[in-house]
């Protein structure tokens, strides 16, 4: 049961991290697109 507690809390924290990461990724999707366009333009030059 001690093992279960240690694994459960780790999963709990990582799950929150995943939620948070995907929210931030979604909110800044436009910024990412603009950055990718700039990088592509730079590569082509």
């Amino acid at each position: 049961m001690e093992y279960a507690i240690a694994i459960f809390v780790g999963l709990w924290i990582s799950a929150a991290g995943i939620l948070a990461y995907y929210r931030i990724k979604k909110d800044f999707a436009d910024t990412d697109k603009a950055d990718n366009k700039q990088n592509k333009a730079g590569d082509q030059k």
Binding site: E2, I5, I13, A16, G17, L19, D27, D35
Partner: protein, 527 residues
């Protein structure tokens, strides 16, 4: 002269001097209320951790871990750091985006409801006063224990220190002194616990010994009949209070209000992830360390004094004095945060003063009056640090958490729903706590005031929402929260923030690893 008293006096004088120096730069209510909204990540981290870690951790949590419920408290301690991870991303940055001075003001603006603003301010005031009472009792106990001075005199001395600090420098001073104190108590706590365990034969040897001689101390179930008679009930309690304390870290006024001072939203998010890491470090070291101190079998009048006993008996005097000063710092840093919030809220949420100088005078007066009220409460009531702290936290979880989440993420919850939810949650939780206390009841775990208050909140929110409609103003305010300012779209900053948030996923694995390596494996393999 007592070296612990010398250390405490020197530190208190130093904090007062720092407060006065910073106070010279406080020219406006913007500086006093929200530190000019220029706080960088590291100051926010310092204040988040210092405002969370107080005498409750070093007395209450340590004492209970030493006495027999380490495992439930450790599970709770690891669960709660999720509050920071979620708080920064799902609540805190929107709070900052609102440009409000207080969280009650944010509720009032979001729902176009002066009544909700006032209710939030009242619940905030009650919760903070309760929590501040617990902190002052902890500080008084600490000072009286190590210096031999009268407990009531110690309360007065501590009160003068943090009142002067808060009155002179407001949020700006609180942020800076919080960060200094965070550095002090974090480093010295890690050093002292390591030295204590080395003195006992080494961390792993102590864990192995306790597995054989006192297995209940580190067992998943905890010591039966200490809290609840079965491990399952202890775990249910731990899970419920893991949610309670997660709520505190996510939305409690003394935590989320730090984000109002951030220089930008990236600082909000990054500071929340770093705070999660440091709070886990302290939770683990203090709680597991306290449990391991069972190796020394100290004779204690009160188990909550275990860390103080270790600081005054197991380590060199100078280091013990620094540790005691560090615990004092943990208490003072929390108390200054509470007082600055009270002062700011009284002026911002209850009055409508236009003149800047009059506002500053009033906020300082409010801080002094609040300090005197809490001093009188502490003076005439015996210390109950752990349980009063838990009362304050539970009230926050029951009255604020659902409303905070709904204020950002729900298109449907109306101002009436938010108001009813907050009110019912507050009364449900508070009412149940008072009833259980007056009737001297030992409630079964599923009737814990947390469950009652949370259910009452949700019922109130649903009923209030069903009976009313969202107004165009409420809709407009919510939509405005989702417009990301152009200044936040700097590509470098966005990439850095994403990396920091990604690290929180890895933090889960780190936490599991630490618990397995330092507790579970050495414990279970020696049963």
């Amino acid at each position: 002269m007592n070296p612990f008293l010398i250390g405490m006096i020197i530190s208190m004088i130093a904090y007062i001097i720092i407060g006065f120096l910073i106070g010279k730069g406080v020219k406006s209510t913007n500086d006093f209320f929200v530190a000019g909204r220029r706080a960088p990540t590291f100051l926010l981290v310092g204040s988040l951790v210092a405002s969370y870690c107080g005498t409750g951790l070093y007395f209450g949590d340590a004492g209970e871990s030493f006495a027999g419920i380490f495992s439930p408290l450790m599970m709770l301690g690891a669960m709660l750091i999720v509050g920071y991870v979620l708080g920064g991303v799902f609540f805190g940055r929107f709070l900052r985006r609102s440009s409000c001075n207080t969280i009650p003001e944010f509720f009032g603006k979001r729902y176009n409801s002066p009544a909700l603003k006032k209710l939030a301010a009242v619940t905030q005031l009650v919760t903070i006063i309760v929590y501040l009472l617990s902190t002052i009792q902890g500080i008084g106990t600490l000072m009286a224990l190590v210096t031999g001075l009268d407990y009531k005199l110690c309360i007065i001395l501590a009160l003068i220190t943090f009142s002067v600090l808060t009155v002179s420098s407001g949020s700006k001073g609180v942020l800076i002194t919080d960060t200094i104190m965070f550095g002090l108590f974090t480093i010295v706590t890690v050093v002292v616990i390591i030295i204590c365990t080395v003195k006992g034969g080494g961390w792993f040897n102590i864990v192995e010994e306790l597995a054989q001689t006192k297995p209940e101390i580190l067992s998943w179930a905890g010591d039966p009949d200490y809290l609840y008679p079965t491990g399952t009930q202890n775990m249910i309690w731990a899970f419920a209070y893991g949610i309670v304390w997660m709520s505190v870290c996510m939305v409690a006024p003394w935590q989320a209000s730090r984000y109002l001072m951030a220089k930008n939203e990236h600082s909000v998010i990054r500071s929340s992830i770093w705070a999660a890491f440091f709070v886990f470090v302290l939770e683990f070291i203090v709680k597991c360390g306290a449990a391991l101190l069972n190796h020394f079998k100290p004779e204690l009048a009160d188990q909550s004094h275990i860390i103080i006993w270790a600081s005054t008996n197991l380590v060199p005097t100078a280091l013990g004095a620094i540790m005691v000063t560090g615990i004092l710092a943990a208490g003072i840093s929390s108390a200054t945060t509470f007082l600055s919030i009270i002062g700011t809220s009284v002026v911002n949420d209850f009055f409508d003063i236009k003149d800047e100088r009059k506002k500053l005078k009033t906020v300082r007066l409010a801080v002094i009056v609040a300090a005197i009220i809490v001093m009188l409460l502490a003076y005439f009531n015996p210390p109950q640090v752990f349980w009063i702290m838990f009362l304050g936290a539970t009230v926050v979880a029951c009255s604020w958490l659902p409303v905070c989440i709904a204020s950002i993420w729900s298109k449907r919850v109306t101002k009436t729903g938010a108001f009813c939810g907050m009110l019912f949650g507050f009364l449900g939780c508070g009412g149940m706590k008072i009833y259980a206390s007056v009737a001297e009841l030992d409630l079964p775990v599923f009737l814990d005031p947390f469950f009652i208050g949370l259910a009452a909140n949700l019922i109130g929110m649903i009923i209030g929402t069903l009976l009313t409609k969202v107004t165009p103003e409420e809709k407009k305010q919510r939509e405005a929260l989702f417009v990301i300012p152009e200044s936040e779209k700097d590509i470098k900053e966005v990439k850095k923030t994403k990396k920091t948030v990604l690290a929180s996923i890895i933090l889960g694995a780190v936490v599991t690893g630490v618990l397995l390596v330092f507790w579970v494996i050495p414990y279970t393999s020696n049963l």
